[in-house]
C-alpha cells in the first residue's frame, strides 16, 4: 500500500510537469494551429538562466521569478521577431523554424554552459516538507507550485479583460479585430505566457532529472501525449492529460513490479513504462481521436 501511494505521488509530481509543458503547447496551438517543437528546449534554456542567476548569488525563489519573467520576454521576442514575418507562411516553413529554434536553444545552452550534467538544487526543506513514506518534499513542492501557477493562469484567462481578449483572439481573430483587440500582440503575449509556464516546468523538474541541454527531450514527448490525450485544443484537458500520463506511467511500472513479485515473471518494469504509457495513449486516441476532453471539429465544405 505504501509503495502504491509513493508511486501515485511521484506520478502526480511528474504529471504536474507534463501538465505545464502540455499547457504551454496548447496555448500556442489554440491561437496559431501550430505545435511548438521548441517548447521543451526553451524551457531548458530558462532553467539554465535560473541556474546562472543562482550562481551569481541570488536565492532560489528570486532566481525562479526572474527566470520566469525573462522567459516571458523571450517568448514575446521570439514571436514578434522570428514568427511574425511568417504569419502567412505555409505550415512546413513554420515547422522548420520551430526545429531550428530547438537546435539553436540546445546548442546555445551547450555553448554557454557546456554539456556537462549539473546538479540542480531543490528549494523545499528536507525535513519539514512532505509526508513521510508517501510523498517526498520535492515532489510535494512541485505539485503545489505547479498547481498555484496553473490556478493563476486560469484565473487570468477567466476573469481579466486581457485574458478574455486573448481567448477571443484565439477563437476568432477577425472578429477580435472588429472589437478592437490587437490580435498580433495577443499572439506574442500567448508566446510569452507559454514560455513562462515552460520555465516553471523546467525549473521544477531540474532537481529530478538534473540540468543538461537535453533534459527536456523526453518530457516534451510526454507533454505531447498529455496534450493529445486531453484534446489538443483544450487547455484544461491538457492539464488533466498531464496528470493522467504522469500517474499512468508510474502505475504501469508499479503493476509490473507487483506482477514480478507475485509470479516471479518479469513482464514490464521501469524501463518499459514510457512505451506502455504511450501505447495506452495511442489506444485511447484510436477510440477517441479528439482526445478525452476534445471536441470533434466538423468542417463545412
Amino acid at each position: 500500500m505504501e509503495q502504491f501511494l509513493q508511486q501515485l505521488a511521484s506520478g502526480l509530481a511528474n504529471g504536474a510537469i507534463y501538465a505545464c509543458v502540455a499547457l504551454a503547447l496548447v496555448m500556442i496551438y489554440v491561437s496559431t494551429d501550430h505545435l511548438n517543437f521548441a517548447q521543451g528546449e526553451m524551457a531548458m534554456f530558462s532553467t539554465y538562466i535560473s541556474w546562472q542567476l543562482m550562481q551569481w548569488g541570488l536565492g532560489f525563489w528570486l532566481a525562479f521569478i526572474l527566470a520566469v519573467l525573462i522567459s516571458f520576454c523571450m517568448g514575446v521576442f521570439i514571436e514578434r521577431v522570428i514568427l511574425r514575418p511568417l504569419h502567412h507562411a505555409p505550415v512546413l516553413s513554420i515547422v522548420v523554424v520551430f526545429i531550428g529554434l530547438l537546435a539553436i536553444c540546445n546548442s546555445m545552452a551547450g555553448a554557454i554552459w557546456s554539456y556537462l550534467i549539473k546538479e540542480y538544487p531543490s528549494p523545499f526543506p528536507k525535513a519539514e516538507f512532505g509526508i513521510a513514506g508517501v510523498i517526498g518534499p520535492h515532489q510535494l513542492g512541485v505539485v503545489l507550485v505547479t498547481l498555484i501557477v496553473l490556478s493563476l493562469l486560469f484565473a487570468f484567462f477567466r476573469y481579466t479583460p486581457l485574458g478574455l481578449a486573448m481567448r477571443a483572439a484565439a477563437q476568432n481573430p477577425q472578429m477580435a479585430r472588429l472589437v478592437g483587440v490587437r490580435v498580433d500582440w495577443m499572439l506574442a503575449l500567448g508566446w510569452g505566457l507559454a514560455a513562462a509556464v515552460g520555465a516553471v516546468a523546467g525549473i521544477m523538474v531540474a532537481h529530478i532529472v538534473y540540468l543538461d541541454p537535453n533534459m527536456m527531450g523526453g518530457i516534451l514527448l510526454y507533454a505531447f501525449a498529455s496534450a493529445l490525450i486531453g484534446g489538443i485544443g483544450n487547455p484544461g484537458g491538457a492539464v488533466v492529460g498531464g496528470f493522467i500520463v504522469g500517474v499512468l506511467e508510474n502505475m504501469v511500472a508499479y503493476s509490473g513490479n507487483m506482477i514480478e513479485k507475485i509470479t516471479g515473471i518479469y513482464i514490464i518494469g521501469n524501463g518499459e513504462k514510457l512505451t506502455v504509457a504511450l501505447i495506452i495513449v495511442i489506444f485511447v486516441l484510436t477510440l477517441k481521436p479528439a482526445g478525452l476532453f476534445g471536441r470533434v471539429v466538423v468542417k463545412r465544405v
Binding site: 477563437q171 472578429m175 479585430r177 472588429l178
Partner: protein, 237 residues
C-alpha cells in the same frame, strides 16, 4: 447635415482580383443608409473595405479624419461597430463574455455598465441567456447578440451586413424594429447591407445601388423604390 462617413473612389482587392472599382457615398450623421445590389456586387466588400479588412485604395473619411490607412482594430477605437455577415459573435464564449469583450476598448466602467442595462432593455432575451455559450443560441438570438455586441461599443456608426440572413420573418421584423429604435434613441448612424431590398428601403432614408463593384444609382429611398429597374431587379414586381 454634415457627413459622418465619406467614401470616395474606393477600390478593393482580394489577391489579384479586384472586387470594387469606384465606390463612393456619403452617410449623414444620424441617418440610416442602405447599400443594395445582387450577389457579388460588392456590398460586403464595401463594409470590409471601410474597416480595412481587405486591401483597399481610395479615401474613407470618418468624422473628417482619413481612416483608410488605419488598422481594423484602430478604426474600431473611433467607435465604428461592424456586425459582419453570418452573425458576428464569439461562439465559444458566453453571452456575458461576448458583451464584455465588445467593450474591450472602453475605459469608462460606469458607462459600460449603463450600456449593458440599455442593451438588455432592447434585447431582454439575452439577459435570460447571460451564462449560455453564444454558439448554443438560436439564429435570431445570435443576431441579437451580434447587434448588442456592437452597441456595447457605444458606436457612432454601425455597419450591418445582412442582419436578416437566414432568420424567420417574424424575427426579422423584430430586429428591424429594434434597429430603428437604436437609430432614433441612441443617435447611431447606420449603414445597412441587405438582400431584402423592400425591408431595407423601408428602414433607410437613402439608398445606394451597387453593380459589379460600382455605384450605379443612388437617391432617397422613396425615389429608388419607385425606379422601374430597381423594382424589377430587386423588389420583384
Amino acid at each position: 447635415m454634415p457627413s459622418l462617413l465619406e467614401v470616395k473612389g474606393l477600390k478593393a482587392y482580394y489577391g489579384q482580383t479586384q472586387a470594387l472599382y469606384d465606390v463612393g457615398f456619403d452617410i449623414p450623421e444620424g441617418g440610416i443608409t442602405t447599400l443594395l445590389g445582387a450577389n457579388g456586387a460588392g456590398k460586403t466588400t464595401t463594409l470590409r473595405a471601410i474597416c480595412n479588412m481587405v486591401r483597399t485604395d481610395g479615401t474613407v473619411r470618418f468624422a473628417g479624419e482619413d481612416i483608410s490607412r488605419q488598422a481594423t482594430e484602430e478604426i474600431v477605437r473611433r467607435r465604428i461597430a461592424h456586425v459582419p455577415e453570418g452573425r458576428g459573435t464569439f461562439t465559444s464564449l458566453t453571452v456575458d463574455e461576448n458583451l464584455r469583450i465588445a467593450a474591450y476598448t472602453r475605459r469608462d466602467k460606469a458607462g459600460v455598465d449603463a450600456e449593458r442595462e440599455r442593451v438588455f432593455s432592447y434585447f431582454p432575451r439575452l439577459k435570460e441567456r447571460i451564462q449560455q455559450q453564444a454558439g448554443t443560441l438560436s439564429g435570431g438570438e445570435q443576431q441579437m447578440l451580434a447587434i448588442a455586441r456592437a452597441l456595447m461599443l457605444k458606436p457612432r456608426l454601425m455597419l450591418l451586413d445582412e442582419p436578416s440572413f437566414g432568420l424567420a420573418p417574424l424575427i426579422v421584423v423584430e430586429i428591424f424594429r429594434i434597429l430603428r429604435r437604436i437609430n432614433e434613441e441612441e443617435k447611431v448612424s447606420i449603414l445597412l447591407v441587405e438582400q431584402n431590398a423592400a425591408l431595407a428601403l423601408d428602414l433607410a432614408a437613402h439608398a445606394y445601388v451597387l453593380e459589379t463593384g460600382k455605384v450605379v444609382m443612388h437617391g432617397p429611398s422613396a425615389v429608388v423604390k419607385n425606379d422601374e429597374n430597381i423594382r424589377k431587379s430587386y423588389l420583384g414586381y
